[in-house]
Amino acid sequence: MFRSIFSYEFINWLRKPVCYLYGLVFFGIAFISMAGTGGLFDPHTPAGSLQRFINSPFEINFIVQYFNKFFLFLLPAVIGATVYKDFRNNTHSILYTFPIKKGDYFLGKFLSSFSIVVLITFSMGLGMMIAEQLPGLDPNKVGAFRFIGYFQVYAAFILPNMFCYGLVVFCLVLWFRNIYAGFIGVVLLFFLQIITENAFDGFSVALLDPFGQNAAKYVTQFWSLEDQNTLTIPVLGVVLYNRLLWLGLALLFSFYTYKRFSFSEHGTYSFTLKRKKKPVIESEGANKKIKLSKVRYRFSRSHQWKHVWQLSRFQLSYIVKSWMFVIVTALGILAVLFAIGKVTNTNEMALLPTTGLVLTIPAFFFSTIIMLLTFIYSGMLVHRERSTGIDSLVDSTPTPNWVQMFSKVLTLLKMQGILLLVMLLAGILIQLYNGYFQFDIGLYLFHLYIILFIPLLVWACTSIFVHTLFPNPYIGIFILLLVWVGVGSLEQVGITTRLLKFNTPGVLAYSDLNGYGRALPAFFLTQWYWLIFGLLLLLLSYGLWYRGTPSSFKDRMKQGKQRFRGPVVIYGSILLTAFIAMGFLIYDKEAENNKGLEQESNLVFEKFEERFGKYAGTLQPRIVDVETTIHLYPDDHSFHMEGSYKLINKLNRPIDTLLVKTGFDEISEIDLNREFEVVTYDSYFKFSVIKLGASLRPNDSLRFDFKVKNTPDTFFQQNSSVLENGTFLMTDILPRIGYMFGNEKLQPENPRALQNHFQASDSDLVHFKTVVSTSEDQIALAPGYLQKEWMSGDRRYFQYQMESDIKFIFAVNSGVYQIGNTNHKGIELSIYHHKGHETNLNAMMDGLKAAIDFNTALFGPYQHREARIIEFPMSLGSYATTMANNIPTSEMRFIANTKTSEDKIDIAFYVSAHELTHQWWGNQIIPANALGARFISESVTDYLSFMIYGKRYGKEEGQRWLSLQRQRYLNGRTPWKEDEPPLILVDEQQPIFYGKGTLALNAMRHYLGEVNLHKVLNDFLQDYKFKEAPYPTSLELVERLRIATPDSLKYVVSDLFETVTFTEASIQKASVSMSDSEKYEMNLELSVRKQTDDTPVEVLCQHIEIGIYDLGGEIIQMETIKVTEEISTLKIILGREPARVVVDPNMLLIERERNDNEYAL
């Protein structure tokens, strides 16, 4: 019996064209995305450069796992449909009376459809395999063909997933006797994954992820690019446990279903909330002769619109009053709560759940779920009459099609509205929970019910259309998914125009300071365009609307033609005209983006180098004096400025050529106080080569005047950096001197490197003076001290001047600010912040004060009389930076949540301490423009901030901070294409110069002693304080450290700073026994393995700390031992009973794996 059921179903599927459609679609998607990422459509990378292989097992796993989500929709469409068709056609009432064994029925149905699903999923792998053989791919991106990669991802992930969740879907459809239960089950699985991702991390999420995606991520998290290109994913371990766990759960669920399942005519569970009614007993009664009362039958337009509303209420109760919807909503709330939790608790900091933050990522994610539910429920609604068989009754009533159609659209909108309301409540709930009471209801409503709702509205129209067009709801859902995915990947094949990117507005970033910025007009124009398109689709749906029993598609087309009459034609033409008009408008506005990078950026650079490369070594005068007048117009998003530089020839020969690069996004004019001629000008890079009429002799100076204004914004593109509130203009708008391209940092040994400091190549320290004007409600800020403030007309003017010379890197800020002020030891500290962002002002102030105290004691006084923290919108970044006496700090840091962050650090305090410490490390001592510069400026600063932090919050907190830095390093080091640099050669790799830098310097503090280390630092600083070229390099600092290090520990300097060395220590065995006289004897077996630049090295002489703790966590003894072999055993006599032994408790070693460092006795 099993065989006949199996082969019947299997062959039945093979005969269906839709089967091949599914396969073809996956094949095509796989083929195109593989060819696209393999560089078929792009210029190839330079020969020999290390690139990510598109066909490494790692990458194959990555791609196929992504598509796993779409495979999941095959489960209800194929496996679910195989069970469901028995209920739909009512064959179950006959079938169940046949002498079929339950097991045969179960297995036959499941295995046959499961095999079909498996075959369809194979089309994807096949597509990828063929695509990777294509000629014309970038050879750097394609490794050798390795079947194992495909085998692995299918064997370990795809097939188990299809099997487990195929079973689940099979059972759900069997329970509910409703195909949509299967689709919604898949959405619920998505929720489950999101919840696990947001609620857990590390090993737990790897174990609990229903699809195993995070398990693969976990076991490959520390892989370098080299590893990613070569290794296969280790499937033993957490991947296996994950698979076994979910397989077990799925089997348990299906076994339970199997036991409970019986061949009865009525379903086990109903889809709706009400309990099943008992069959009704007939009672006798005579016929009464009643004449029906006269009632009014009304068909006016207004009554029909009322009818639309009433019908939608009837339809909505059907959706809402079902278990599935309740579960979806409940899990949806959970998922949103967890997603908000994740957004407000990033790896680095906890944030307050401001309304803006709650609404961006979490709400966008939730609206995607609403979209998926729209795909499903629209199918349910459109096909509802026909699937219940009530259609012939309904269709013969005098209710017009448009009433039916609009009632269904309205029902979808109501469902979306309800779910958005759920989102709103979840947001407020989490705000309440965090004790944050500034709910911005206006913003909630605007963002949820306008920004997110319009795209959902378009999806509702589209879904209605697709489901009206296709008689089969699974195909409809599949097509809709395809549209969604397809539009998302348009960019991959080079289509960027908004005219074709259907309904994908993306995430609109929001800042409390600057709102949505200038994104709204573009959003509305594009969304109106798609909304009108959606309405056109509705019009087509009206034409194709099912009514009665059309016998073929031709019949429906004929019906449709008849329906396009009178007002419908008028509406249609109006909509079509509007659609085309808006399309033209968008086309026109997009054409304004004349600056769009028509050429591939690599090519542009190459061309430029070809043309101007010869100027690379041209010696230039240096800027010594900067004077500007800047006029900001926040309302118009524009500015214009005049200014002048004083340039001095600091060289010993005359200069006759001046190279000038002006702002990329700005319109600039330049003038000199002597004859000059522009020899060549590159209009793309705004680079000019200027021939001086008379050459500039050594020590002679030159006045360089300039006028700069912003390029006006186009509709879709923002060219000006001036914001309505929170403007943050930086030095990139100014003209700069010299050839500035390919200006990579040099090796620190290179003497040329010492001539420039790391932040400007055309100046050392400059004198700075400026006047800034802005609108009357704003405060403008620039480096220096305020000399004068005045009003002129409706403009507010500020004049700033710096007393001491500063680096040529500064900013002008303007905004509506509140000011927090205090004076600390004669230094004026102020914080310019957005109203409402007061939570962290005290912590920030404390950070400034603590940094002043700490650094002044170590390195001498702070060089300015004032320090200002200035808030800028998070749309410009999440960082903070030091520019002379100003510290522009992202809004993100102002909404950091320091109260509830149990496993986070007080980011507000830390950031201001860090930035102020830069006044010494970065501004007093300025590193040369060589690799390793960030080691001096950032690693030392971060180490000092860590010391300041530990001083304030205690040793334990400090230790936690260290382990966060360690994590930051290990997580962050994965993606580098080049081999990872050691600290001494670090470039812009934040995880190294922050994470590893702090760890390394802290280790040095232990080895040398705090006083000694700080003396090395101070000596270094004092030697270079405020000095111009030659600037110091990392080589010198490391050398100074080496000199201060005793011979026995010199290896440490090399391990920490000069190489990438991992020293993995672990306790293999530990035992404790009581020796006589109340002493405890502990025996340890210790393993120490070392690896430098990925090659194992011998352990010659390694100092390792071992801490032994009692039951209460108190330290009993701390031993430092010298290890000379990989495995060593030792014996320690203790006075108290130990409970736990930890190797390297102070994190002095750079280790990848610390889980094996502890041993509980």
């Binding site: 109903s270 889809f271 709706t272 009400k274 099943k276 009614k277 008992k278 069959p279 009704v280 007939e282 009672s283 009664g285 005579a286 016929n287 009464k288 002769k289 009643i290 029906l292 009362s293 009632v295 009014r296 039958y297 009304r298 068909f299 009554h303 009322k306 009818h307 009433q310 019908l311 009837f314 059907y318 509802r384 219940t388 068989g389 009530i390 012939s392 009754l393 309904v394 269709d395 013969s396 009533t397 005098p398 209710t399 017009p400 009514r547 009665g548 029993t549 059309p550 016998s551 073929s552 031709k554 019949d555 004929k558 019906q559």
Partner: protein, 295 residues
Amino acid sequence: MSLKIEQLTKTYANGVKAIDNLSIEIQPGMFGLLGPNGAGKSSLMRTIATLQTPDKGSIRFNEIDVLTHAMEVRKRLGYLPQSFGVYPKVSAEKLLHYFARLKGVTSKRERSLLVGEVLELTNLTHVRKKSVSGYSGGMKQRFGIAQLLLNNPPLIIVDEPTAGLDPAERNRFLNVLREIGARNTVIFSTHLVDDVKELCNEMAIMNHGRILMKANPSEAIRQLEGKIWIRNIEKDALESMERRYHVLSSGYNEDHSLNIRVYADARPDTNFQPTEANLEDVYFTVLDGFNVFDS
């Protein structure tokens, strides 16, 4: 008040000619459409009920062109299809409210009144709170009648409503139908001759998409008077009898012998006894293609 169908033709996509150049005029009262399964009755009724468009021909109801003014017809139409489903777990009362709205009764007060009346009329008041999906066959059919009455329709189409009903249910159902048939045009299709006999003042017999005969039932029976003969035979003899005579129908006796009814102008032989003609004889005579009626 008449329904006039002219030269109606419908061929399905699979090539089946469901309605074949059919013309008929139907007057108010109970009109029975009799025919075997697959005769095209349901296709014809669906077409009149605006659910299906014909390839050719016209239908007019009281000067309304059914094919071009479907909505106007639907306002006047009550339709009970051969089989129908309902939304699961929705009570009869709620469902009737829903249909009343679909039929244009916008006032809630009036709707409640109307729904109460049709429930009463179809004897469903006591089970109005129960969901229709749990109803027995007869109750469900009466529910079908209840929804059909909501717009007080002058044109009622019921397609094989008694199929599958037990005798008691069938009686109750026919009583309800009789009650409403008095005032309106009711087209009633069935393959059961008895339904027509009990109910209709006009009837037509349909097969292969064509109307074979249209008549008043008693008039039709009268025309057969004296031409129907009955004889008792062994069952093995049926085949030879069918070859020799126009056997209309046969029925078993308790002793497994057969009674056959034969159509003949004169008594075929002495074994045949004259018998009274009935509507079934009319039906089979027509289906067998004897053109003895002048319609």
